[in-house]
Symmetry: C2
Subunit: 146 residues, 2 copies
């Protein structure tokens, strides 16, 4: 089996975005599939074992190229490193645990951006509304009680 055969979807996505298919890019894509809100370091840690010799810089390159090509979305909850996710078409939001940092997707109630209207847009041409919910995740609530 060739490398290409083992990850058909990643290959298709990458090639379809007009990017060359390389082992690291495929691995980066797969890493995001497994960990939907991963930092560059997270991705790197996941990629290195399967594609030895990959550099952190390459992971950044791949992630930035993916973002540029619209394959990946980058989010950045306050006080955290940038996180990357494959869900890109829908305008969804996130809920972040202010205790442990866990992140979950939250579907947007309204289908498309901007899913929300500002009370006063100050003349801005509005494009998207980014919503981040902050709270405490179930695991951390339990810990606090215990």
């Amino acid at each position: 089996m060739t490398i290409a055969d083992s990850h058909p979807e990643a290959e298709t996505a990458i090639r379809g975005a007009g990017l060359r298919v390389t082992e690291s890019r495929r691995a980066v894509y797969e890493a995001l599939r497994e960990h939907p809100h991963a930092s560059a370091e997270d991705v790197f840690a996941q990629v290195v074992p399967t594609v030895p010799g990959t550099s952190l810089q390459s992971v950044y390159n791949a992630l930035n190229d993916f973002v540029g090509a619209g394959l990946v979305r980058r989010i950045e909850p306050a006080g955290r490193a940038g996180l990357f996710e494959l869900r890109v078409a829908d305008n969804h939001h996130h809920i972040v645990c202010r205790s442990c940092g866990a992140i979950e997707d939250v579907d947007c109630v309204h289908g498309e951006a901007p899913c929300l209207q500002p009370s006063d847009a100050h003349g801005f041409a509005l494009e998207v509304a980014e919503v981040t919910f902050w709270g405490v995740c179930p695991a951390c609530s339990t810990d606090a009680v215990a």
Copy 2:
């Protein structure tokens, strides 16, 4: 006129938060009054001329102390340095120009946090909903047309 007399509100606010009143803290507070969405560097640049010898570190100290005391709120639009503002009691939001970075406050339609409910909170104990609107400000729209 004493130093204290010249900035009565800042003094009151700082002392009321249980913090000692110093020249740099007063200047930091005043800087935020004049520039409502300033970075630490911005504040520093504004403070130095009036309180020479102030260090950037002191500005960070003051800002962090203020945030800790609830006098100041820190926001962090994706891809930007942290910004500080005095409006802290109301749960308001922001609209950011994706071209020039200009920021305006947007009043929250609902009075208090969380002003928005996630479609599925995944069991999280929800605390606040942080909304960032992205768009293009009037000045940048005009430039684009010209």
